[in-house]
Amino acid sequence: MDNASFEIKKGEFVAIMGPSGSGKSTLMHILGALDSPTSGQYFLDGEDVSKLKDDELAVVRNKKIGFIFQSFNLLPRTSALKNVILPMRYAGIPTEERQKRAEKYLKMVGLGERMNHGSNQLSGGQQQRVAIARGLAMNPAILLADEPTGNIATAQAEEIMQIFQKLNDEGHTIVMITHETDIAEHAKRVIHIRDGRIVGDSSKHRQRKAKMSS
C-alpha cells in the first residue's frame, strides 16, 4: 500500500475492489488490526490503533471488529452456538449473557433451528451466516468481510448480501473486500484500488438490492 488515505463513516457499507495483488489483502489486514502499517496511521472508532502492541491489538479486534472470512474459519467439530460464543469468552462476558446474545444473532441470520449443529454439518452459506453471527456478537464498530462470497454458491451469496444490507439498514458499518463487481455493487460505496493506490472512490452506482431467495 502506498499513499492511500480514506475515511469510512459510521453506518456506511463500503466495498473495496481490486484485482489480486492490488493490495486488498494488506489493506484488509490493517483495517482488521491484524497487522500494523509500516508508516501512516489508522484511526478506528476514534482510536489510533497503528502503534498498539500485540495484546492491545487483540483487544481491539475483539471489541471493535467483526471478521467474516472467505473460508468461514469456524472451529471444526464445534456447534454453531459455541462458535458464536467464542469472541464473547475472550471478552469475559458472563455465561448467560453470551448464550442470550449468541441465540439472538443466530436467529437474526436465520439459523435459529441449527444452533447446535456442528460446523461440518452446515452448508457453506450456513457456515458463513454463523460467521456473521459471530462477527456481530461483540457489537463491533465495523464488520470486516474478506471475500465473503468467494467460497459459496451464487444463490447463497445472494442471501449473505441480503443479510449485509439488512444489517447496514440497522446501522451497522460494513467493509467488504471483493473482486467481483456484482457483489461489490451491493454496497453503497465502492473503493477501487490498484497497485496499492486508490484509483476510484464513488457512491454513484445504483445499489443492487439482494433478491429474496425462494
Binding site: 489486514h29 482488521g32 491484524l34 497487522d35 500485540d54 495484546d55 487483540a58 483487544v59 479486534r61 475483539n62 471489541k63 471478521f67 472470512f69 474459519n73 472451529l75 471444526p76 467439530r77 467464542l86 469472541p87 469468552r89 475472550y90 471478552a91 459471530r134 461483540m138
Partner: protein, 406 residues
Amino acid sequence: MDFETLADAISTLTINKLRTGLATLGIVIGIGSVIALISLGQASSQAIQSRIQSLGSNLLTVQPSGQRTGGIQGAAGGGTTLTMADAEAIKTSSQITTVANVSPEYQGRAQVTTGNANTNTQIIGVTPAYGEIRKTTMAQGNFITQNQVDGISKVAVLGPTVVSDLFGKGANPVGQSIRINGQTLTVIGVTTSKGGTGFQNQDDIIWVPLTTAQKQLFGAENLTSIAVEAASPDVMVDAQNQVGYLLLARHKINDPADKDFSIFNQQDLLNTINQTTGTFTTLLAGVAAISLLVGGIGIMNIMLVTVTERTREIGLRKALGAKKQTIVTQFLVESIILTFVGGVIGIGVGVLASYLISIFTGSPFVVSLNSILLAFAVSAGIGILFGWYPARRAANLQPIEALRYE
C-alpha cells in the same frame, strides 16, 4: 483457566485418541516405573532390616582381635583372649548396669555325618542365653538347657537347612544321632527358619552346649565371641562403653588403642545397610526418571505437532481477540491433562507392579505416600515444562500468517 478451557482441551484431546493415548503412555511408563522401583528399593530395605532385627535386637558382639605376633596382625576373631571368665564378669560385674543378658559362644566348622549323608557346617557352642538373645524359636524339640551345658551333654539342635542336608526335607530328626569330629550327638530339637543365604544363612547351623563344643569337639578353652544384649536400644552406647572398659581392665590393657577385642554394634550394621539400600533405591529411581524424561519429550513432540496442525485455528482465535496468555493457557492445559492423566494411570500401574513384585518375591508391599505425591507433582511439572515451549510457539504466531496457513 476456567471450566470451558478445560472442557475444550478434553474434547480436543479425545479427537485423536490413539495419539493422545500413545503420548500418555510415555508418562504412564515413566511414573509407573519410578513408583515401582522406589517401592522395590524400600521393600528390599525393609526385608533386610527385619531379617537383621530377627537376629536379635539391642545386640553387641564382642570378638577377640586378631593376635599380633611380631608386628603381624592376624585375622579378626582369630585370637584366643576371650574367656568364659570374661563372659561371667560382664554378667556379674557391679560396673555394668546396662546389660540384660550375656551369651558366651564358641564357633567352629566341622564335617557332620549321619548313616548315609554328610555336610560341612557351622557348629556353635552356646548356653541357653543364646536362644533368649537371638529369639530362637523351635519347630521341633527343645533348645540347649543349662543342665546340658553343665553336664557337657552330647546333644545338638539343628537348623532346618542342616536337617534337609542330613535327613531330607521335612524329616523329624529328633532322637536320631549325628557324628561330629568323632563324637556321637543326639538331636534334641530343630529351629524354625530365619532365612538368609550363603555365609549369612541362619538356618545352616548346629547348636551344641558350649562346654561340649569346647571340650569334646574342638578342644578349646576360649570363646570366639560374647553376645551382649543391652537393656534397651537407648543404652546401646553405654553398654558398649561399660563392656569395653571392663574388658580393658580385665585384660590389663592401659591404652584402648592396644585392645585385644572389638565390640560390634547391631545398629552400626543396620545403618550401613540402610545407607547401601538407600543408594540402591536412588539409583533405581534415577534410571526410572530417565524414562520419565523421555515420556516428557514425547509430550513436547506431540504438542508441537498439534500446534502446527492447528495453526489456522490459533490464527482465528487470535483474530477473534485471544491474547497470548489465553493461547498459552489453552495449550498448557492440554499438555498438563496429558501428563496428569498419565501420572494417575502411572501411579496405578506402579502400585500394581509393586504389589505383584511383593507377591512373587515374598518381600513386603511398601508404597510410600511420598513417592505418590512426588509422582503427581512431577507429572504435572512435566506437563508445564514440556508444554511450555509448544504453547509459547502457538501464542507467538502472527494472526495473518496463521490464517493464511494451509
